[in-house]
């Protein structure tokens, strides 16, 4: 049996499971309360910083998880507490994968396919009236991560985000 530990943190559950010596799998389970998201984000940032991600990568990965979990709470669960949102982090020597699960109202998968960071009508706009107030979350995730896939089946929704670890550069100078 794989070693496993679990910790309760202010309504959050945090479980680490050693999948193999080279792969770490950690589960976070939070209640669908927006106040829980920052704690989750900061925890994932710390885990990324223990891998070989740069400070800016850690910030960006935290941002994408915060966006994904906030979407689950705001849209899938209509901002209502009392539902579980789970994030499974899998860290391998090559990459990090973050699976965000909820059991709320599914998102139309086209929203992720069609999400953009900058809409064509905003391309040259410096006028705040020409800029969307919201709707940047999915575009940010697609821009920052190397992969983003959304699936909805059997009453559950899963958004999978993946980012490769930076390749180690070999300095040829003596």
């Amino acid at each position: 049996m794989l070693p496993c530990w679990e910790l309760n943190l202010k309504g959050s559950r945090f479980r680490e499971r050693m999948a193999t010596m080279d792969t770490r799998r950690i589960e976070f389970v939070i209640d669908s309360d927006i106040e829980n998201v920052s704690l989750l984000g900061m925890s994932i940032n710390k885990i990324c910083s223990s891998a070989s991600f740069s400070e800016i990568d850690c910030f960006n990965i935290e941002l994408c998880v915060v966006e994904a979990v906030t979407n689950s709470i705001k849209h899938a669960h209509h901002g209502e507490a009392g539902n579980e949102v789970k994030v499974v982090l899998t860290l391998t020597p090559k990459d990090i994968t973050l699976d965000v699960y909820d059991t709320g109202v599914p998102m139309d998968p086209k929203m992720l396919d069609e999400a953009r960071l900058i809409w064509p009508e905003e391309e040259d706009s410096a006028d705040p009236d020409g800029i969307a107030e919201g709707g940047r979350g999915l575009g940010i995730m697609k821009e920052i991560m190397d992969g983003a896939i959304y699936r909805s089946e059997k009453g559950g929704n899963r958004l999978t985000l993946k980012k490769a670890l930076p390749t180690t550069k070999i300095d040829s100078d003596p």
Binding site: E35, V37, V66, L117, I118, P128
Partner: protein
Amino acid sequence: MKMEIIGEKIGEVEVLKLKGRLDASSAKDFKDRINSLVTGNSDKIVIDMEKVDFIDSSGLGSLVSSLRSVNKSGGDIKISSLQNQVRAIFELTRLHRVFGIYEDNNAAAISF
């Protein structure tokens, strides 16, 4: 993880010093604070983000919403002292072209 908002003045310019995370949990408090300034006829506002170490799309949305609100009353919002990672998100989303961004509060205040 509540964000702190401390209000100060440089001449007739209102300076809001933010501390913490500007995200979905703090965006409403921030917009409420801006709306109370607009209601009080303050329309020259500097947002000091030196101590904001995280911003997400909800936080960015609250800034855009606030800018629209202040613009409608004939005023403007300037942003100062962005941390590097937060500045990178402004640039990624191109909001650095929508807001006046300055190195410090005095530079932002005299730009009005």
